[in-house]
């Protein structure tokens, strides 16, 4: 199978307002600007109801934007029906045609394109090889597991060599182990074909593992666009910090700053965060501390341990800091000292793993 011609997707001021009888106007997507480069894997990530699926369905052509533009390779596609947009899509519940066998499911779109039967056959069988399901051509959907069905659905989208591939939470109906296996497979195939991909999920680990770029949405508004590292290490606001992984947010004060670093004081202890900030010295700030970025048993802050839970991979602690519960995950507990409830413990951070929320981050 030769590679498809990957296309660019550009969303300009895209807005969708639903008018419902029970809740009045619902702003599902608000003024979204986003560019997805050719060949890029972009994830739309957010809690349920954040508008990510509506956004995807507008790109697909199933929903009508209230305003804004959808450009695919520079052409506005809003007036086009889904079948004319040169897209592939994989659905949450597989959406295989239950009355057709695997072969005919995959061949469905090729037949509509009136491709000659010999080539159809080749492309379908090649597609099945990619997902290692060569022997399944004659099966009907009801005879396959969820994972197998989703692979067929993936091939059905791939054989059309679409300019853009859309995924709507494709793995959420699968069990945990299969999910991890499938996400690696999808990513491998996507890289191999170099296909532009928009992937909707509410699972942040999926987004982290697969994406070139993660788009975090909340209430229909884009919160942050960045690589997995960027959104995890330098979240733009407390919502993102809490949504991607766990986060403790502590109050601090900027003691001094240079062009490329700032010194922040937390509970009287000071740390150098080696990143630029727009805050000025003396400003009160919020600092994001990841639970796994904390060292116990040393450091300048001492606090009371509230409770502890053994998780196997880690020993988790809840410590009272600044009147809030501060969470710590101490990995490889077998090699570490275990602290008990009500004990006073010392905690320490490395400046590099702290992140100061910027002034415009108010949520």
């Amino acid at each position: 199978m030769d590679t498809s011609t990957a296309k660019e997707v550009k969303l300009v001021g895209l807005t969708k307002t639903f008018i419902t009888s029970s809740r009045g106007e619902v702003h599902a997507v608000q003024n979204v600007d986003l560019t997805i480069n050719p060949g890029e894997f972009v994830t739309l990530l957010g809690p349920s109801g954040c508008g990510k699926t509506t956004l995807l369905r507008m790109i697909a052509g199933f929903e009508m934007p209230t305003s804004g533009k959808i450009l695919i390779d520079g052409n506005d596609v809003i007036s086009k029906t889904p079948d004319k947009r040169d897209l592939g899509m994989v659905f949450q519940n597989y959406a295989l045609f239950p009355h057709l066998n695997v072969f005919n499911n995959i061949a469905y779109g090729l037949k509509i394109k009136k491709i000659n039967p010999k080539e159809i056959r080749e492309r379908v069988l090649d597609g099945l090889k990619i997902v290692k399901m060569d022997d399944f051509a004659e099966r009907v959907p009801a005879q396959m597991s969820g994972g197998q069905q989703q692979r067929v659905a993936l091939v059905r989208a791939l054989v059309m060599k679409p300019g853009v591939l859309l995924f709507d939470e494709p793995l959420s109906n699968l069990d945990a182990k299969l999910r991890i296996h499938m996400r690696e497979e999808i990513r491998r195939i996507q890289k191999e074909f170099g296909i532009t991909t928009v992937y909707v999920t509410h699972d942040q680990s999926e987004a982290m593992a697969m994406s070139d770029k993660v788009v975090i949405l909340k209430d229909g508004i884009i919160q942050q666009v960045g690589t997995p590292q960027e959104v995890y290490q330098t979240p733009r606001n407390a919502f993102i910090a809490n949504f991607i992984g766990k986060a403790n947010i502590l109050d601090g004060e900027i003691l001094s700053k240079t062009k490329s670093a700032a010194v922040v004081s937390i509970e009287g202890a000071s740390y150098t965060v080696p990143r630029p900030t727009t805050w000025k010295a003396g400003d009160k700030v919020q600092v994001v501390v990841r639970p796994e970025a904390v060292t116990l048993g040393k450091g300048d802050i001492e606090a009371r341990l509230i409770k502890t839970v053994y998780m196997g991979v880690s020993q988790d602690y809840w410590i009272s800091v600044q009147g809030k519960e501060f969470e710590v995950s101490d990995y490889n507990p077998a090699a570490k000292e275990i602290y008990t409830d009500n004990q006073m413990v010392k905690i320490d951070f490395i400046g590099k793993s702290l992140h100061i929320l910027e002034p415009d981050a108010a949520v």
């Binding site: 307002t17 008018i19 009888s21 809740r23 009045g24 106007e25 619902v26 702003h27 697909a60 052509g61 199933f62 009508m64 209230t66 007036s79 086009k80 029906t81 889904p82 079948d83 897209l87 592939g88 899509m89 659905f91 949450q92 519940n93 959406a95 295989l96 045609f97 239950p98 009355h99 057709l100 005919n104 469905y108 779109g109 037949k111 509509i112 394109k113 659905a153 059905r156 989208a157 059309m160 859309l166 709507d168």
Partner: protein, 568 residues
Amino acid sequence: MASSPAPSAMKKSERWNNSFRQLKFTIRDPVLLISILSTLIVVVMFIIIPLFTILKESFLGTGVFSLKSYASIFKSRFNLQIIWNTIKLGVTVSAIGTAVAFLFAYASVYLKIPNKRLFNILSILPMISPPFVISLAAILLFGRNGLISYSVFGQRPDIYGFWGLALTQVLSFFPIGYLMLTNLLQNIDPSIEEAAQALGSSQSKVFKTVTLPLMLPGLANAALLIFIQSLADFGNAIVIGGNFTTLAVQIYQQGIGSYDMVGATALAVVLLMISILAFYLQNSVIGKKSYITVTGKAAKQRVLNANKKATIPVYTICMMISLLVITMYFLVPYGAFVRLWGVDYSFTLRWIKYVLTIGRRYILDTLTLSIIATPIAALLGIVSAFLIVRKNFPGKRFLETSILMAIALPGTVLGLGYVYTYNTPPIILTGTGLILVIALVIRSMPVGTRSGIAALKQIDPSIEEAASICGAGSQKVFTSVTIPLIRPVIFSSLVYSFIRGMTLVSTIIFLVSARWQMLTVAIMNQVDQGLYGAANAYCLVLIILVGGVMAIMSFFLNKMGVNVNGGY
């Protein structure tokens, strides 16, 4: 939406703009636009406009707006009596019918008794037979020359009247309730009742405190359904009603018999209002109160009650009713070969010959019209269901409500509406075969729409979206994915439309003409003249035709079905 929590309320013009954009979005596809428009036109022309014409005529029939026709109804003791008759009959039939339906449904789902298949066959019979069969048989059994009443007991009782009509209506309509209640009972999760038993409830207590309360909305629903059927019933009422007149019959007699059209329209409006009220109650008030969700999934197996105290009496009653109905269905074909019922029971082919010679054109006309109407009705039903479930367009709710309401529409009201609307320019259709086909289509399409809606709701829309993303236009999606997935519903609406076409009386009785005649009207005329032999023979022909065409249809559709399955 006064309490709209939205941050910025849209202006009216913006709202307009929005729905205009939505419309443009929907009609990107010309095929879709055409289907929406044609369905809307059919509904408006042949459901809405005729009803409005009746309403208009009832006020303006004399040329100026007046309530005279209504005043005369409510002043006339005779008319008030008819309204009272209709309601009294409806309530009685609905109460007894629901009770019988529940007994049958409970027996078949909960009790360990034999012959359950017999009950199921029994429940389908009245739906596929002409509406007179039961009343005709009731006359043959209990009439003045009845087999039981006269030949056995030497009595000449008066079966014509309230109780005769109530009996035939109960026997004709309880099966609808039975099917509905069986479906509901099957969907009660047995573990709910087991939980009640585990909490210390005896079996009869479980019935009283759990099963019955759960069924209450369903029972009310069934009662209203039977009530609506009884209101609209024309066939039984005209055959066996005698001096006991109901609204459905009076509309016909006043409109066609006495040419008092304004009076007829006013009566029609009264009947229409009662039916719509019952329909509204059934769908809005009670429909939303259901505790049982019909999932279509087979629930866990229920442990059947084998307690003889319950099974023996219930079984006896059910069996007696079943035997009565089955006897009735044998009696009519038998009556077709009897010289003179009640007097001379010797064998004759006279009636059959009569029906096949003089009655031939009735048979051919009916067959022709039904065969034309059947595919149109089924197609319209499925397309409208598809539009209602899957598409968004202005007027969608109107379309859905109008079609579903048409199920509850009394046939005589619609017939009268057609006579009124299409008798005068700009469009004159009365006397043509076309108006008969339209009547048959409109009388059967709504049921197709309803079952289509139910079937489509079971199918994940993303399957159709997947087809669309694969490059299929809306027409291709419909033919290659939607239709194959709801094939059983298409088959059943074809069958239903055909049966309905062959057996409809109420609407078409206003529309038959010298050019086009219908079998059911012929049967009615024979009964009217007391020629039961000929009526029986017509019924027999009708039953054979319906059975035969059903068999042919299922044969061909199965063949086609294989093709649809193989490719796409």
